[in-house]
Amino acid sequence: MGKKQNTKTKKDAQDTQDEPEEFVVEKVLDQLAWDTCPLLADNTWEPEENLDCPELISAFLEAQKNVKEKPAPVKRKASTDEPETESKKKDVAEKPRGFARNLEPERIIGATDSSGELMFLMKWKDSDEADLVPAREANTRCPQVVISFYEERLTWHSCPEDEAQ
């Protein structure tokens, strides 16, 4: 029962669609002038003779052609002016530590003097591994980073406490 009703409504819809179909064709033709209509490449579209705008079509076809009718530009291979990765490596069990790693200091995240001299725990840019550097080195190499560390920890209070520990 539902089916019957459905087919009926479908038929109705189709009937009303017969008129718009023609209208749509004209509209698409107009479109041809402004956009590059991809439908023209389709075999299902009408043959050229049935459309009365040969200039449009030839202009359209011209636009589809390559600019140059000559061999395609040659691809360019790599130029190796970029330093790649190291070709030889020295084995030092003690890996370069601290400033010898040649990384940029990001910020100091801690301090300790358990080794007898004041050391900062340095977080480097682009690395997850923080390590210890002597404060005297840090003071000359990255004084602003050191200052930030101290400023962050400035406290005003009555009891003398060591904030860093």
Binding site: K75, R76, T85, V92, A93, E94
Partner: protein, 521 residues
Amino acid sequence: MPTKNVIDERLSKFKNKGKDPAKLREKRISVSVELRKAHKNENFLKRRNITLSSLPDEEALSPDYCSTEMVTPLSMEEIIKDVTSESRESQTRGCQAARKLLSQECNPPLKEIINAGLLSRFVSFLSMDDEPALQFEAAWALTNIASGTSWHTQQVVEHGAVTAFISLLASPMLHISEQAVWALGNIAGDGSAYRDVLIECNVIPALLARICPDTPVGYLRNLTWTLSNLCRNKNPFPPSSAVLQMLPSLIQLLHHCDKDILSDACWAISYLSDGDNERIDVVVKTGIVPRLVELMSHKELSVMVTPALRSIGNIVSGSDLQTQTAIDAGILNVLPRLMRHQKASVQKEAAWALSNIAAGPCNQIQQLITCGLLPPLVEQLKNGDFKTQREAVWAVTNFTSGGTVEQVVHLVQVGALEAIISLLQVKDVKVILVILDAINNIFMAAEKLGETEKLTLLVEELGGLDRIEMLQNHDNDAVYRAAHTLIEKYFSDADIEEVKVDTTVDAFAFQSPDVKRTFEF
């Protein structure tokens, strides 16, 4: 955690400016964790010294973080005496002392050790399977000598170390085998000659045999690096039989999760894909391209970008088919971001890759447009550093050469013409020529549309006419000629009538808003 209440109590006595006690505590805990970690790492690295040497070792026992000095090191004379003695104990002591000297950061005495004639001794120690401590120290010492200049490496090789090291790869002692991997990596890295010597000595099967599921990560890192050196260098490239042997393992390693392994494996691929299209084919056929694109955009592994991008760049410098595999793998979705990367070198390589894709057929060029590669290209032309701009200019010229008229029109619409005109004032002659070529191609497109007059006006508006006129006085012959030709063809009054032959222009519907917009900004 148990100390929470105690800390809170103390903190409450303080007057802190806008500091949250909970945050402070967190900071403190993380700092002490970091300090403990750093301490642990320092000690871990020193373990080698403890286990292998039966002699008191100052470094291993000291809690001092920054000292790498030894207490009473052996003098060179003492080292020579020990190494050349007949006592295993002395030899080991001397060898270790030599190794430590050779491992120091500043100016290790490579030449001294060589000139003292110790190399043949070290090499002979390599075969003493019953003396692992001695083997290890000798292997380490030789590794560091081989890490020097070509001359240093040559000394190591000429004393017969190669076969000894290759045999050591099979050692049941993992740390010794690993040391051999490292030494061989240094020898291979010297250049194509030694690389091929190693390959001839069957180093590859011996290396690959060490890859198994329980191989520790540290070992695999060294191994991957050594493999990459066996893929490295040109003139000649490594033999294709060797490449084919290594590739399956490299592909495997490219699916590992350790970033150092991934990075070196990627570098290996970048070396293998550098060259003619047959070499590229070998790489592409492994099906690795999607993984490379994935690694290019891996956010956590910024170390991956360069070798992955280089590999892809090499692949798209190949045939249209090879380029298509990269496009199919989604490279065009990743490139725009890399073209805006903070590192200039990445931007440059991305532009280079783009320029090669733009050297392809117009359907690939169309994909450049649809995937939004043009806006970042124009940005690079305007704001990139010079090396990047140079590559971007190539992209424009290739685009204008292989693209359809429509595509070229679009390129102009997004501002590329304006951008390359600004670059006409650079000093680099090649770049100027490439730009003039692009402008010529754009005029050829305009000719097909009958819009050359409009383009002439546009170029003039953008300051191009002035620049091209000035280039007629350039020192370089080719530049002067190219500029002159352009002026004569399109900017000379005498030609206006010829252009007007195309007056059917008015009948063409291409004088549509769309195309009018072509040469209007």
